[in-house]
Symmetry: C2
Subunit: 403 residues, 2 copies
């Protein structure tokens, strides 16, 4: 029997990261492919203590929960967003999701009719492109450089396409690690206001910062006005642990109400146990989240520097990359004409993996790009993996020299 | 600014149960409205012990997980489904979801193009109708009686509409509590095989059984053949605790692969902590789930009987209802011409709430129907609530006598 699947599900490709994981299965491969946090730094003791406090609350803590999310978590998160990021929100303007991936999915479900246009950076977060495909969006990439979307191209495309929203990862973005300048953030806000177009600001990495510079979030620049156009999403996956599967979205209350409707039909609500554990962990007497983030950022900075040292070696001289100011990724451009997909095959033979940049492009991809994750592996492993990768690059470049 | 939401989100009504909860907020109302399990019976100690075992597994237990779900949980669940329900499945034919609500959502996402037809019982599960609305299904109700869908009408509608799938809750169904007869289950399977149409068997209540009679699941009747047409979904929400937000779906591996693709864009994966806790709880040395279900069923049976005793009182003589053989609900028909929505207003004034049946119908609703939940409130509260409801019914009938 031929099963007849929906067009949407057939149109979406399986994730490149997953395919690479398959490729590496059962082999002793060092992977710079996934966007995994350093698990040896998960605050397991604090999570355990918090869970003990939750179980002491009695059985009603494990009953069906509110679709919008557990109230105490929303309230504490709202306070934290105000003090840490200058994003002002009431609990009613905040909805808890199963990771920020679900925030992207529900926001899109609430906003998008088939054929509607969404503007994205180029390249951008792979799994957002998958969501947009699921809802039959027309995805239009906006010209982007190291400072963010180029305002002239953005203005032209806002005018030409009347998009439903603009999706951006402006701080230590995935895959490029780039940080939008203040000017570009202000330009995005101003242009979208002018055209009455919403912005979805995806900020999973904003806390993982290696310098003292902090460019304000776009949601903070907008402030808590009437008729907000910015929806802001982030997650505990990178700062506490992804297995607790908890993210959130902040937006105008009218938008949150529609997202709640989408969530109700999607999964009723997220894990109450996870939410209550995280709610406890926002209490200073249970856990010092700021201190933890501070330490974690130092750990990631060291790993980033370890990888940077390897990338400075002679064999990489014809590649382009920037030193990340935060986040989890290096974005490397190979010389024009080379295909990172082919390099990957060579790398896997040497025992190391990464993600070719191709999958992150909405339009025509730059095939000579690749993403390297530096947060997961420990420095010694990063060095070994980079030695293997450098060897692969060396052979690969040798093979194509003169191309 | 007018936000412009998607047509799909605007077309779906907010849940009647939610609206009733709003109506009752801040008042001392006894609610027979929600489908909530008895929280004083949640096995909190076992959940706590299981979580301790999970935390001892070390930090990698809290890393990003597989989209399909934690392997140990899928393996143990597969064994359990085989032994308890005679549903034969390998771990690869099973995907873990955030409650069975998400199983319905993801199955629909993987299968349905806008305008495709889905056949449903009439009445049927409210939140499934919401999902079908979200994906712009054409929902066609099949004539249904106390034994399930009427085969003649089903055959005609399969032929006429070539539906993508048939959605059924054949065991202690929501809202009616009905149990499909073996003959009707076999007829459904045979007719759908003939027309090559998939069946989604939703079975959240099957374990909550008050008699020793057990009609086989439709998935068990089909067996583990090639080209299976039955997808089966159930949940731990009713047997362990809904706050752990864990359900599952069993289907042909090709279907599971597409559902995994849908889940990947939806939320990457479900809470790993919840999954690992439940995986531990399937070990006999950690928890005796069968014994727990046995006790819980006895508790619910007592509550059901308490409510039945009240419904046998004289004032209810003109209503129709069946004694449930399991599950969580009474389905009550008022005399023709009366509107349960109007009765609800009267009931809320008296301090008791229920769900009018209207929202459970795909087509023209029977306005004289109502759903009463008996699993949540303890017997004493059920008696008090039913006294209030009987009083409301008495006034309501009095007002409309002669209508």
């Amino acid at each position: 029997m031929q099963y007849s699947f929906s067009k949407r599900i057939q149109s979406v490709e399986s994730s490149a990261v997953r395919d690479i994981l398959k490729l590496t299965q059962g082999k002793s491969i060092i992977s710079f492919a996934g966007g995994l946090p350093a698990e040896e730094w998960f605050p397991v003791d604090a999570i355990r203590n918090a869970s003990e406090r939750v179980f002491r609350q009695g059985p009603q803590a494990l009953q069906y929960g509110l679709t919008e999310g557990t109230l105490s978590l929303r309230e504490r998160l709202a306070v934290r967003l105000g003090s840490q990021r200058n994003i002002q929100a009431e609990a009613d303007e905040l909805l808890i999701t199963s990771g920020s991936q679900q925030a992207i999915d529900l926001f899109t479900r609430a906003m998008l009719d088939p054929g509607d246009v969404v503007l994205v950076e180029n390249p951008t977060y792979l799994a957002c492109l998958q969501v947009l495909g699921m809802y039959n969006a027309r995805v239009i990439p906006v010209e982007s450089d190291d400072n963010g979307m180029v305002p002239e191209d953005l203005a032209a495309k806002l005018k030409q396409h009347q998009p439903k929203f603009v999706y951006v990862v402006p701080t230590f973005g995935n895959p490029t690690g780039r940080v939008w300048s203040l000017e570009r953030r202000e330009a995005l806000l101003r242009l979208c206001r002018e055209h009455e177009v919403l912005i979805l600001e995806d900020d999973p990495y904003g806390d993982l910062r290696f310098t003292s510079d902090r460019v304000p979030n776009i949601a903070a620049l907008e402030g808590r006005t009437d008729d907000r156009i910015v929806a802001y999403t982030s997650t505990f996956s990178k700062t506490v642990a992804p297995g607790l599967r908890t993210g959130w979205i902040v937006a105008d209350e009218r938008i949150i109400r529609m997202i709640a409707r989408a969530k109700q039909s999607s999964d009723l609500h997220s894990s109450v146990l996870d939410q209550l554990i995280l709610s406890e962990m926002l209490l200073p007497e249970v856990f010092n989240l700021d201190d933890h983030i501070h330490k974690l950022s130092a750990v990631y900075k060291e790993r980033m520097e370890t990888m940077a040292t390897e990338l400075q070696k002679d064999m990489w001289r014809d590649t382009k990359w920037n030193t990340p100011q935060g986040g989890m990724f290096f974005w490397v451009e190979l010389p024009e004409g080379l295909d990172a997909q082919t390099l990957l095959k060579c790398a896997v033979e040497k025992g190391v993996a990464f993600v070719p940049g191709t999958s992150f492009y909405a339009g025509e991809p730059k095939r000579n790009t690749m993403r390297l994750n530096f947060s997961f592996a420990q420095p010694e492993t990063i060095r070994t993996g980079m030695e293997r990768l450098t060897e692969a690059v060396s052979e690969f470049f040798g093979r194509y020299s003169g191309v």
